[in-house]
């Protein structure tokens, strides 16, 4: 068992991040080097400044709000929580002064970030079970959502365990030691990390996250990077 823990928590993490960064980078560079479309793809009426409206469309999703308000609420909650989640993870590596502008305990969000993410992911998943979304969806869409749900759910368990049901054996100290050792390329697993009763949650969390990161560059989640340039095309 120990060897499995080791593989998931150390080599696989490196591989996953390598695939994620190289894959995303290479694919984006390739995409942006394709020739431009010869004509405008704008939708009228024209509104200026165009780049401001493109940002507006990208980050506030006004068309979704108009045509599917419930979906919009979950999408906004999801994406905002996702941003907080990234910040939360950075703070598991070390202290960042700017993030403490709003004073909080690591992991930020009092456990609610994970809860919101889990619920929105279930919503995204279940809405695909009903027609017509079911007829539009392909396996990729389900796999991504299931993968993310599992990642978020096991991640949240660790957070909730500490906060909500007083489980103190694994704490931020252990996570920081582990993650910074990875970052400084001197990977090290402390026995506390791998032999506590909740270690399996950490291992599963990291395992699913690795899979997600490796699938990211080749999936529709590339919309995170492409949404802005595409919205700019529509705004002219």
């Amino acid at each position: 068992m120990e060897i499995v823990y080791y593989i998931i928590l150390i080599p696989m993490v490196y591989v996953a991040f390598a695939v994620f960064f190289v894959g995303t980078g290479v694919r984006l560079v390739k995409l942006f080097r394709e020739p431009r479309n010869p004509t405008t793809l704008q939708i009228f009426p024209d509104k200026r400044p165009r780049w401001m409206w493109a940002l507006h469309d990208t980050f506030l999703l006004p068309t979704v709000r108009r045509h599917n308000p419930i979906f919009w609420v979950f999408l906004m909650l999801f994406h905002i929580s996702f941003l907080l989640l990234i910040i939360g993870h950075l703070e598991l590596i070390g202290d960042f002064r700017i993030f403490q502008i709003v004073q909080h305990e690591v992991f930020l969000g009092n456990g609610f970030v994970g809860l919101i993410l889990s619920i929105s992911l279930l919503f995204f998943l279940f809405r695909r079970f009903a027609s017509p979304n079911r007829d539009l969806s392909v396996p990729e869409d389900y796999y991504l959502l299931i993968l993310l749900f599992l990642t978020v759910f096991f991640g949240s368990q660790m957070d909730w365990a500490r906060r909500w049901y007083d489980y103190g054996n694994l704490s931020v100290v252990e996570y920081r030691e582990y993650l910074s050792s990875l970052l400084y390329l001197k990977p090290h697993l402390s026995p506390d990390l791998t032999s506590s009763g909740h270690s399996f949650m950490l291992v599963l969390h990291v395992f699913f996250a690795n899979l997600f990161l490796m699938f990211f560059p080749f999936s529709q989640i590339m919309h995170s990077f492409l949404s802005l340039p595409m919205n700019k095309l529509r705004r002219g």
Partner: protein
């Protein structure tokens, strides 16, 4: 399908993959926000008419041949082989889509269905399974561009016969020509469609405004664009660009034809002349007081159908409203926002396919008929030949009891000396 054919088709596909197209093919999350956007789906309720479903037909082939994933793990994206059956699906998807881009307004990323369907249309041409009539019409236009001398004589006689009609609408001074043709150094080149309805009212208005204009030898309509053939589209367009440069005009004015206007405006590149639609020119004449119209001419309520390629996709939105408010005190909007206007259901070459798909055109545009009737207007006006034909067909099919009119002919009828 044999390997050679498939390779050739994939080469055509490859040629379409520029930056924007790849964005569109990579990004759809199949979120379904575009579901309600398509008039065909809204009218007929079949899943295959949802915009994202149409894309996916093209996208599956993309995933198979142009993404590494298609070789390693094709099933994750339902990647699909390019086969005879795939061609049939492509036909169904592309020739039930009018390219109106209403769905692009809904999509959180702004995916352009018309553009994705242009791949489908090109593959169909490559496999010789496109609607023949469209290619035939495109070829005729191209030929005409090559051998102008052959048909010049007949054209000039035809035009001479129309001059009497023009003078009936607007008297001109002795010695002036009612329909000037081939005028070197004219300010404006007017590109019309074949048919008196596209030439006579326009000519009367140009004469009334005292415009230094000339009529093009060619018709504006671009069948190359309808059938999705980029080479022919460009050839048909270039005939007019060449003529405009030869005559050294300052402005090329496109008649009431949505596709012709958009192609000319957006595809002709940087040229020594401006491109405008006839609606823009008419509203300019009114604004500048070069023509006057009689408001008492049309007493019944009027509504206006924004042609997709002219309004949402071409940007001519305020001008028709300016004209209509000069023509009537009872102008009624169809849609609270013009970019949300329903397509008439006749674009993308569907009207040109004629009787064959009349049934589909009528069923797929039910929402359009309802939208017109809700305004309670008695006159339905528009500024596109295709829309006019389709709306007239809808008018008789759904017994809407409106009168379908071209905006330009309403202006001509209301001219005051």
């Amino acid at each position: 399908m044999d390997q050679k054919t498939r390779d050739e088709l994939l080469k055509l596909f490859q040629g379409k993959l520029n930056e924007a197209m790849k964005f569109y093919l990579e990004t759809c999350t199949r979120c379904g926000v575009c579901t309600e956007a398509c008039h065909v789906y809204a009218s007929m309720g079949q899943i295959k008419y949802i915009a994202a479903y149409r894309h996916e037909i093209v996208r599956r082939i993309y995933k198979k041949y142009f993404k590494g994933r298609g070789k390693i793990w094709p099933s994750v994206g339902e990647a699909r082989e390019l086969s005879e059956m795939a061609l049939e699906e492509l036909y169904e998807a592309a020739y039930s889509c009018t390219g109106c881009r209403r769905c692009m307004v809904y999509c959180p990323f702004g995916i352009d269905t018309q553009m994705i369907m242009s791949i489908a249309k090109l593959l169909l041409i490559g496999a010789h399974t496109e609607p023949e009539i469209l290619t035939l019409l495109a070829d005729t236009s191209v030929e005409k561009g090559k051998s102008l001398e052959l048909f010049k004589e007949g054209f000039l006689t035809g035009i001479k016969n129309l001059e009497k009609e023009v003078v009936k609408k607007w008297k001109i001074e002795a010695g002036e020509t009612a329909i000037p043709v081939d005028v070197d150094g004219a300010d404006l080149l007017y590109v019309a469609l074949a048919g008196a309805h596209s030439i006579v009212p326009a000519a009367a208005i140009f004469n009334a405004a005292g415009e230094n204009w000339t009529l093009s030898f060619f018709e504006a309509v671009n069948f190359g664009a309808f059938v999705g053939d980029p080479t022919k589209t460009k050839l048909i367009l270039d005939r007019i660009v060449k003529e405009a440069k030869r005559l050294k005009v300052k402005e090329v004015c496109i008649c009431e034809c949505g596709t012709a206007f958009r192609v000319m405006k957006q595809l002709s590149g940087k040229q020594p002349f401006e491109v405008s639609s006839i609606t823009e020119v008419h509203s300019r004449y009114l604004r500048e007081g070069r023509i006057k119209v009689d408001k008492s001419k049309f007493k019944e309520p009027i509504t206006y159908h924004d042609p997709c390629q002219i309004a949402r996709n071409g940007g001519v939105i305020d001008e028709p409203r300016y004209i209509l408010n000069r023509l009537s005190d009872d102008f009624r909007e169809m849609s609270p926002e013009p970019k949300y206007n329903w397509c008439c259901g006749g674009g993308g070459g569907l009207v040109a396919l004629g009787e064959d798909n009349l049934d589909f055109r009528m069923k797929s545009a039910k929402v359009k008929a309802d939208q017109v009737q809700e305004t309670g207007a008695k006159i339905l006006t528009t500024a596109c030949e295709n829309c006019h034909t389709q709306l007239s067909d809808l008018n008789s099919h759904y017994e809407m009891g409106v009168e379908v009119k071209f905006l330009s002919s309403m202006v001509a009828d209301a001219l005051m000396q």
